[in-house]
């Protein structure tokens, strides 16, 4: 199969959990990477080394282990900046997850004054395929400021319906926030094109790259966005850390988000002044050991090469789409092929006639195959396709064709189990 990572079996050994055996002796077939990715040993080891030998608080501690810890933490910021091709390390803000990054933007806009302020008569534009984490913050912003929330609809194929873009993006539009890659449909959106249009009408552009950064090379400048957010646990890093990249000029204009230690310049009881970016947006003790893990994770991905990761994902996804197409009564929600440009995310959501996704995933699980069943935090997109929930298989750089075969076999077995074939 073209595009697969070379020596996949060797690479899989980097991930301890992949050698686990589950109930009844079935090996783990992990097809839930869009939910969270597994962690390579180097990431775990780096975290252990930090906790066992270099643990100290950062910035404020000036002793030797404090200096080691601060250097490790800030080095992680450098690594992430390089990974994203960010113009400046100061534009890389560590958050607790992707959701916090999106909320950070929505929240500070609620309090922003001047040019950036959002209020009655203004419009916020999202899309119908967003993860709840890129819907609810904007609903709250709209509700709290009196602005109006609007959205791009979806075509039958699971692409954004851009037919009314001229109506949606207008001089009232203050923010456009959209996902780069859908976590449910696998659609890859034309982020640059939309960003350019949004900028023409003077709107800010926020890109939820939670599913993009794990799967493809991401260049924040080339994306055209003002903000790009992702989450550590989906890029082979730990939970407890996310990243929000923002353009310096915009970040500097925004008021602070959370208040506390590290984000201040000086504090008096009457009044405080705030630190420069990125610290202005990082209140309290940051996720230190998590940043260390994330830094190693992006290095791990870079060593493999994000182009190669993308090619692998495309190959596996294409193979999976073929396999699924062979199953009677199975409908894929979203693009059914990888397409010419190789532009399709690795998440494949589907339904099987007459069997509820819960039941599908339960039977698969009894054979060691881990998929997700439910609305995948994308209820509106499910509603758009007339379903309440779906089963989702999602691959990553460690996924093998044999695992896809196990999935397809498992689905045939499921149909037999429920007497649907």
């Amino acid at each position: 199969m073209d595009g697969l990572l070379p020596e996949l079996e060797v690479l899989r050994k980097d991930f301890p959990i992949l050698s686990r055996t589950l109930a009844d002796g079935f090996p783990l077939v992990y097809l839930d990477s869009a939910n969270t990715s597994q962690k390579p040993q180097v990431v775990i080891d780096a975290m252990v080394d930090h906790l066992e030998r270099h643990n100290a608080n950062v910035a404020r501690a000036m002793h030797q282990i404090g200096a080691e810890s601060s250097a490790a933490f800030e080095e992680a910021r450098d690594k992430v900046a390089t990974f994203l091709n960010a113009p400046s390390r100061d534009e890389v803000i560590f958050t607790k997850n992707a959701s916090e990054g999106l909320n950070l933007v929505a929240n500070t806009l609620a309090w922003a004054k001047g040019e950036l302020s959002v209020g009655e008569g203004d419009e916020i534009v999202i899309t119908e395929m967003e993860h709840h984490s890129n819907i609810v913050p904007w609903q709250l912003l709209a509700e709290r400021t009196g602005a109006r929330l609007r959205w791009f609809g979806l075509t039958e194929d699971g692409a954004l319906d851009l037919s009314n873009i001229d109506d949606l993006l207008n001089e009232r539009t203050k923010v456009v926030s959209l996902t780069w890659v859908s976590n449910m449909l696998g659609t890859v959106n034309p982020v640059r094109q939309i960003a350019d249009r949004a900028h023409q009408v003077g709107a800010l552009v926020v890109v939820d790259a939670a599913q993009a950064v794990p799967q493809m090379p991401v260049d924040v400048v080339a994306s055209g966005a003002d903000f790009v957010g992702f989450t550590g646990h989906k890029v082979t890093g730990p939970t407890g850390i996310g990243v929000l990249w923002g353009r310096r000029q915009v970040l500097e204009q925004l008021p602070p988000f959370l208040g506390g230690g590290e984000m201040i310049a000086t504090v008096a009881m009457e009044r405080s002044t705030y630190a420069d970016i990125p610290h202005k947006f990082e209140a309290g003790t940051p996720p230190i050991v998590e940043a260390v893990g994330l830094g190693v994770a992006v290095d791990y991905l870079s060593a493999i090469g994000m182009d190669n990761v993308k090619a692998h994902e495309q190959a596996i996804t294409g193979y999976a789409l073929e396999g699924l197409a062979s199953i009677g009564g199975l409908r894929v929600l979203g693009p059914r092929t990888v397409g010419n440009g190789g532009e399709r995310g690795g998440a494949i959501s589907f339904e099987i006639e007459g069997i509820h996704p819960h039941d599908v995933s339960q039977v698969l699980d009894s054979r060691g195959i881990a998929v997700r069943a439910g609305h995948h935090c994308a209820k509106p997109a499910h509603k758009r396709f007339g379903v309440q929930s779906s089963t989702r298989a999602s691959s990553y750089l460690y996924t093998t064709p044999a695992e896809i075969d196990a999935l397809v076999d498992g689905l045939e077995y499921t149909k037999k189990y429920f007497r649907m074939s």
Partner: protein, 159 residues
């Protein structure tokens, strides 16, 4: 999780109720209608309760519903409605309590087949913590609807 276990989850009785649910559909008359969801999976049920009166000795004349969900939650709705229709509210509450005990016992509670009838088929579900919620969704909905008609119920809370 063994195949035997999978079969203990998907008992024939459950699959039968799933394919041929009893009392399905929304009917009149009713005194209360509620809508409950399981936020993790999106399963939903709209449920109506019709009582013969409004004191706490009232008889449950009808439970009607429109439910979307997995085999477990659909079958549980069917079994629940069939169990409680015709009973008094205190009798139904007692059944709910027994059913809860069984579901929360992680497979260790011996159910009373006399009382729970087809409900005992759910004993195997208790061994699948992620699915327990599916089996309880419609019971919670029924209880909520009933308490809207006759006020706070004395039944023990689901934790």
């Amino acid at each position: 999780m063994t195949t035997q276990n999978l079969d203990s989850l998907y008992q024939e009785i459950i699959l039968d109720h799933y394919k041929n649910p009893l009392h399905a559909g929304l009917r009149e008359p009713f005194e209360a209608e509620v809508h409950h969801v399981n936020p993790t999976c999106g399963d939903e049920v709209t449920l109506r309760v019709h009582l013969s009166g409004s004191d706490d000795r009232a008889v449950i004349d009808d439970v009607s519903y429109d439910a979307e969900g997995c085999s477990i939650s659909q079958a549980a709705t069917s079994v629940m409605s069939d169990l409680v229709i015709g009973k008094t509210v205190p009798e139904a509450l007692a059944l709910h309590e027994q059913f809860l005990d069984m579901m929360q016992g992680r497979g260790g509670v011996e159910p009373d087949e006399e009382a729970l009838e087809d409900g005992v088929a759910f004993a195997g579900v208790a061994k699948f913590p992620a699915r327990v919620k599916c089996a309880l969704l419609s019971w919670m909905a029924w209880k909520d609807a009933t308490s809207r008609i006759i006020g706070e119920l004395g039944n023990k809370e689901q934790p």
